[in-house]
């Protein structure tokens, strides 16, 4: 039962009504207040995000190269887009990015759920455990990348050293040099970094969960799996969508990981959309083409966020109805 100040139904006329002109002025003011409060936020976003996006849309329609400034005014239509869509490297990076995100997000969700259920069972030291879980979330992605590069280094990394000391292998396993292993290592780093987002939010959901339905279901003879499947999980879904929505705002953080761990190598085998953009734009100075790719990746990210945001709103409405 929140009452908003700008709510339409007028107060019952207990007080003498104001003269119409004053009333018009005051309502105008309360209608304006939220927009004034939002003005700085909107201006910032327009200047630093929307305006650059318009600019990059234009550059994506030109053959702009940093080394040749005059090419900025040369309109070539959709040539850049046609070129990248016909470029096999682009499609490989694109599909690899999608695959990487799908695998990482699913593993993160499953692990996060498992961890949340596990910690929920523990009665002592929960707060401490929760704090520890938050640490990977707060690590700089570049640091996580470096950390795993250090651990997985084939000569001096602790992983290979341990494997060799235990006699499991006498070869140095090329974790970051072999294409498949490198992709695995990057996914592992990503999962290590982001699982806690899911774990923490799902744990918060478990804490907030009412006990009565669980008891009732148990009394009615549901087995633990049925209770979990039909009561716990639906209750947790909004929390999962919050986690997904938060994660999707930052999916491109994986760029930092890849940039420091393999930089897209070996021979482009771990190239993701984002590293490809950086390479095309800055190393090869083909800004126009890089911007075309950047647009594709932006649309992808925005759709992704939008999807989970819709899910979140829907789940929230469902919860609101259940309350």
């Amino acid at each position: 039962m929140r009452r908003a100040r700008g709510a339409i139904p007028p107060a019952p006329p207990l007080l003498p009504r104001k003269p119409p002109m004053i009333r018009a002025l005051t309502t105008r003011r309360t209608e304006m207040t939220p927009f004034l409060l939002l003005l700085p936020a909107v201006v910032t976003m327009l200047f630093v995000v929307a305006l650059p996006l318009v600019f990059s849309l234009w550059t994506s329609l030109t053959p702009y190269k940093l080394t040749k400034p005059q090419t900025l005014y040369q309109f070539i239509g959709l040539t850049n887009y046609i070129r990248i869509f016909g470029d096999w490297d682009f499609w490989v990076a694109f599909l690899r990015t999608i695959g990487f995100l799908t695998v990482a997000m699913n593993v993160e969700f499953a692990l996060g759920l498992g961890i949340a259920l596990l910690i929920n069972k523990i009665t002592w030291g929960q707060r401490g455990l929760r704090t520890i879980m938050m640490f990977p979330m707060m690590f700089s992605p570049i640091l996580v990348g470096f950390q795993f590069k250090f651990l997985f280094n084939d000569h001096i990394g602790v992983v290979n050293n341990a494997l060799q000391s235990m006699g499991i292998t006498d070869q140095a396993i090329p974790w970051l040099v072999d294409a498949k292993l490198a992709m695995f290592s990057i996914t592992l780093a990503e999962v290590w970094m982001s699982t806690s987002v899911f774990a923490i939010l799902l744990l918060a959901g478990l804490f907030a969960m009412p006990r009565d339905p669980l008891e009732a279901a148990r009394v009615d003879g549901c087995n633990p799996w049925q209770v979990f499947r039909h009561i716990t999980l639906p209750f947790l879904m909004p929390f999962a969508y919050i986690a997904m929505a938060i994660r999707s705002l930052d999916v491109a953080r994986a760029y930092d990981l890849v940039a420091v761990m393999t930089d897209g190598g070996p021979a482009g085998r771990t190239e993701l959309l984002w590293t490809l953009i950086a390479r095309t734009g800055y190393d090869e100075a083909k800004m126009g083409q890089a911007n075309a790719m950047a647009y594709v990746s932006t649309i992808l990210s925005v759709l992704f966020t939008w999807y989970f945001y819709r899910k979140l709103v829907a789940a929230r409405r469902y919860m609101g109805g259940a309350e």
Partner: protein, 289 residues
């Protein structure tokens, strides 16, 4: 009676199993970081040793001295100025983002207005633009405005990076404060501004602090944009500076680990201080419509 003994034993076993699983989990979460921290105190010689030296023979602060330029040996990397840059940029952008975010979050929590949902969604979607994709046009614009390789240039970008999420969190915190409080204050003669500043703001303070910590860490940790928008000691931040340790074929692992510790410590301390509020903010802001 036998049944109950058995079930007690199985309960005991279950408990042990849970503890074991938790222990392994915490190990996996903590060990990578701890190994880096440990390596920061070991000399490069020991890190590179073959066969590996498992139990550290000498631990010292030499690596830290080296990267900050104390002592005889020095690394030619100006970590001191990177640190100052990071601090100045992160603090300034956090303060600005908080001011903008409190205003915006308050508007979303307290007012009903046209296009409310649309504006909120729009702000969030702007945040979803990948850093590296945004960096291309921002780089071109900033180079025309002379903002490349300045602290100002990065501060402006970070403010916009932080505003949407700050609004999300602060909106949630203000919603938890009953509106009746501010209304009562206004009936008693406070102006809306006084009611906000004296009643609602103090109540939301810890939440706002948590949002501030989140904003600070985002700026402190950001790499994709900073790596393209900075060039020299004038504006390079710590995450960008970390790459200075990687030469073409060699990496100064010990120095890099020491620098990693310098980046981690503020993050750990701040996380520890605000973790409770942060979780509350994330979930309430998200679920309670």
């Amino acid at each position: 009676m036998k049944v109950s003994v058995e079930s007690r034993a199985s309960k005991q076993a279950k408990k042990v199993g849970i503890w074991l699983a938790t222990f392994v989990l915490m190990l996996v979460m903590c060990l990578p970081g701890l190994w880096v921290v440990l390596s920061a105190f070991r000399p490069n010689r020991e890190i590179l040793a073959k066969p590996p030296v498992w139990i550290p023979e000498e631990l010292s602060l030499v690596n830290f001295g080296k990267i900050f330029g104390f002592g005889a040996e020095q690394v030619g990397i100006p970590v001191g100025s990177y640190f100052t840059n990071s601090l100045v940029i992160a603090l300034t952008s956090t303060v600005i983002a908080l001011i903008v975010g409190v205003a915006g979050g308050y508007a979303f929590a307290r007012y009903r207005f046209r296009f409310k949902g649309g504006i909120f969604l729009g702000l969030m979607l702007f945040r979803a633009v990948p850093g590296i994709a945004l960096s291309l046009p921002v780089f071109m614009m900033w180079s025309r405005l002379g903002l490349v390789d300045t602290k100002m240039g990065l501060i402006i970008v970070y403010v916009s990076l932080n505003v949407p999420f700050t609004i999300w969190l602060i909106d949630g915190f203000f919603r938890q404060i009953p509106q009746a409080l501010s209304e009562a204050a206004q009936v008693d003669g406070c102006t809306p501004w006084q009611a906000f500043w004296k009643i609602e703001f103090p109540l939301a303070k810890s939440g706002i602090a948590a949002a501030g910590v989140f904003a600070f860490l985002t700026s402190w940790n950001e790499f994709a944009l900073a790596s393209q928008l900075t060039r020299s000691t004038d504006s390079k931040t710590l995450p960008v500076g970390l790459l200075d340790f990687t030469a073409q074929f060699t990496i100064d692992w010990a120095g890099m680990c020491a620098m990693a510790v310098i980046i981690i410590i503020p993050a750990l301390i701040l996380t520890f201080i605000v973790q409770k509020h942060l979780i509350a903010g994330l979930t309430f802001g998200g679920v309670k419509g």
